[in-house]
Symmetry: C2
Subunit: 426 residues, 2 copies
């Protein structure tokens, strides 16, 4: 195991100032000490390689090397400070290639997880963050305080454009504020993007007329870059307020330009695929880290999990992610490895989704507060009487929750809610 | 555990024809059977969700549902056939959001790994593949049969533009065909992109004049989309043949447009970050799968591992990846879960890199053949007498390997090689 070149990176007395600080979970490979593994990570993610090289001067190493200033052998946590000169301003891809690049494949580590990053102020200032953020979204949707209620059109694939619009309309009429496409619905042979967009916006206009409320549609513009931008332009042109994008599938390079193009669209991030690298608690990248990057880039909303739903992700983790994207000052502790000052970056709205149904709304709102979108897909379209009654039931559950009334009590007056609670026992 | 909705996806008698077929490793969660977990995956990655929904008609389900046609409880392998209508032509992001999306986070699975995909002909035809491929690269570099020899300028960060160019020149003069930037070197305060590009190309011109050989530089254009494209244009304008990009950090959406813009640049893919989701053999996405997607999109070269180097990745895996990207017909077996017919898609050149030194060249060439780039970073710049002698030693090792001469014998005549072998014992 060649670890000799990985020395000189330990500095427990160092106090980071303008550095970028990363917190890692590091499990050394057999025969490697924790200190050696941490130094291998610090080296490969800054200026080193597996052997000494003639071209690295002492001065250069002194100025640019990473410093491991915190090590806990028991918890396997190491915190590493990187001089800010190692990072190109305003480039998520370069950041990831540095601190979340080769390191995951090194033989010195058995498992390695990037848990959190504290960004220096100067680095944060090189990004714009969300264009709208929570307040901007609330202003457009004219919903001041309560959680927003949303649905995903289901089945995720199969409906044609007309059927899709009809389902969306039923959801809006029943009480949903927002209707979105699912993550794999883009432009299909049986449901082309433009046709779906036009029909669904017509349905939205009708629902707004009938209900007198603002209704929003989130079409999925996920595609190769130029097609994605073309779709975003069309979305704006046809009078839609939102666009949704699968952040992991699309990637950081395209995401940054989507934000910086300033379409005037609220951007919703779906995280399909994240669990390929976020799920194993010992390896990969934390979901909290992914959420931080989305806020920095400037999405306005992000799917963060549901605590009580069909996907993995516990209460502590999802709550911490919610705080990380919605607060301006983040303190260490309770799921946050590192603090953060978000400066000018606006709060991003947390979207809770994945296996939710009306019965799960009270515990969700209790855990996450009012600044969320509650998204029910199957939990609305699966209601025995169909989408519209499903949306009515969800709205009844939300209204009861906000009024402090138990769902069982509310269900005595509302048969839609009663049917939902019967289909999905809590 | 809500698994009732996940039924009707098993069909062991089904024979896929124009379907897209995916092979998964599926480890069910506690209390879930293998069949249930496989159906949950098949459902969520096609048209289903966690509960029955009123909007999914029987006809729709029959036409569009995925079919699990192969199940092996012992190996935990399942093969799933998806109707091609579920996929948008020419869109890697949509493909991944479908078959490598939500599924990784489902509570029904403890671990899940996408191992391989067999693409239907029609789907393959919606991509262009590499513009140059192996033969195109060999023609430009005027190297007919032997492996290409490359280096990464080291230290990865720290040199200014002038120093970078000087190190590159020494490597070319010593015998390297190709010199590349490292994965986190983009446009730095101490080494801006344009300045580095101009100086390094001047050094290249000089090295070509002195040696009479073709020399190539691979500048790292990794950035947000518009900056990346701007850099690619500059690279072309200044007379460089290559551009390199960090495929995982940049993401699929941008990568597709980079290829489709047809700059006339050979595109080299660095895989920094892949191991966050490829390393755990039970979860995430296989490196082979990542390599297939890169070939489909149309990179000309891809870093595939070194077998004998500093990064994880065994011989069987790296060899299979090499075959997958360089052959036209892929047969099942020996690391390939599924077959493939690459049709019009050109072969992509395998780049072996990561912890290599001259002593490792013979086993590498034996395992991977001649159609590779052998990249030594530390293994060249770490040579006791410096970069130029390091490159000379690497070329001596390559020449000896191709001539069938042992390195120990060659080292008796070549002190550069002798020094390298002494520093890095085999």
């Amino acid at each position: 195991m060649p670890t000799k070149a990985y020395s000189g990176y330990l500095n427990p007395k160092y106090i980071p100032r303008a550095d970028l600080v990363a917190a890692f979970y590091i499990e050394p490979a057999a025969g490697v000490s924790f200190e050696e593994a941490a130094q291998a990570v610090a080296s490969e993610s800054s200026i080193g390689t597996w052997t000494s090289v003639s071209t690295l001067s002492k001065k250069m190493k002194k100025e640019l090397h990473a410093r491991i200033f915190f090590l806990n052998k028991r918890t396997k946590i190491a915190k590493i400070a990187y001089p800010s000169a190692l990072f190109e301003s305003g480039s998520i891809p370069q950041l990831l290639s540095s601190v979340a690049g080769n390191v995951f494949g090194m033989k010195e580590v058995k498992n390695l997880r990037l848990l959190d990053i504290n960004f220096p102020n100067r680095y944060i200032r090189s990004f714009r963050g969300p264009a709208f953020g929570i307040q901007g979204i609330r202003k457009i949707l004219k919903v001041k305080k309560r959680p927003l209620l949303g649905t995903i059109v289901k089945p995720k694939l199969g409906l044609n454009a007309k059927e899709h619009a009809a389902v969306a309309e039923q959801a809006w009429l029943g009480g949903c504020d927002i209707v979105k496409d699912d993550e794999n619905l883009t432009s299909m042979r049986f449901n082309p993007f433009e046709k779906r967009l036009r029909q669904t916006l017509k349905a939205r206009d009708n629902a707004e007329k009938v209900t007198g409320e603002r209704k929003a549609y989130m079409p999925n513009i996920t595609a190769s870059f130029s097609k994605m931008m073309e779709r975003a332009r069309l979305v704006k042109k046809l009078g839609c307020e939102y666009a949704m994008v699968d952040v992991v599938s699309v990637g950081w390079s395209a995401l940054q330009d989507l934000r910086d193009e300033n379409f005037g669209l609220i951007l919703h991030g779906h995280r399909a695929g994240h669990a390929a690298f976020t799920r194993n608690p010992k390896h990969g990248i934390s979901m909290l880290m992914l959420a931080k990057l989305c806020r920095l880039v400037g999405l306005d909303q992000l799917h963060v999990g549901a605590i009580v739903g069909k996907m993995a992700g516990g209460k502590r983790e999802v709550k911490a992610i919610g705080e990380e994207i919605e607060d301006t000052i983040i303190h260490k502790g309770r799921g946050h490895m590192l603090s953060e000052n978000w400066l000018h970056i606006k709060p991003m709205l947390a979207v809770c989704s994945g296996g939710l149904h009306p019965g799960k709304i009270p515990p969700l709102v209790k855990a996450m507060g009012n600044d969320i979108v509650i998204q029910l897909g199957g939990g609305i379209h699966g209601q025995p009487l169909g989408t519209r009654h499903g949306a009515i039931a969800a709205k009844q559950a939300l209204d009861a929750t906000l009024a402090g009334i138990s769902l069982d009590y509310a269900a005595m007056k509302h048969f839609e809610l009663a049917l939902a609670l019967r289909k999905w026992p809590r």
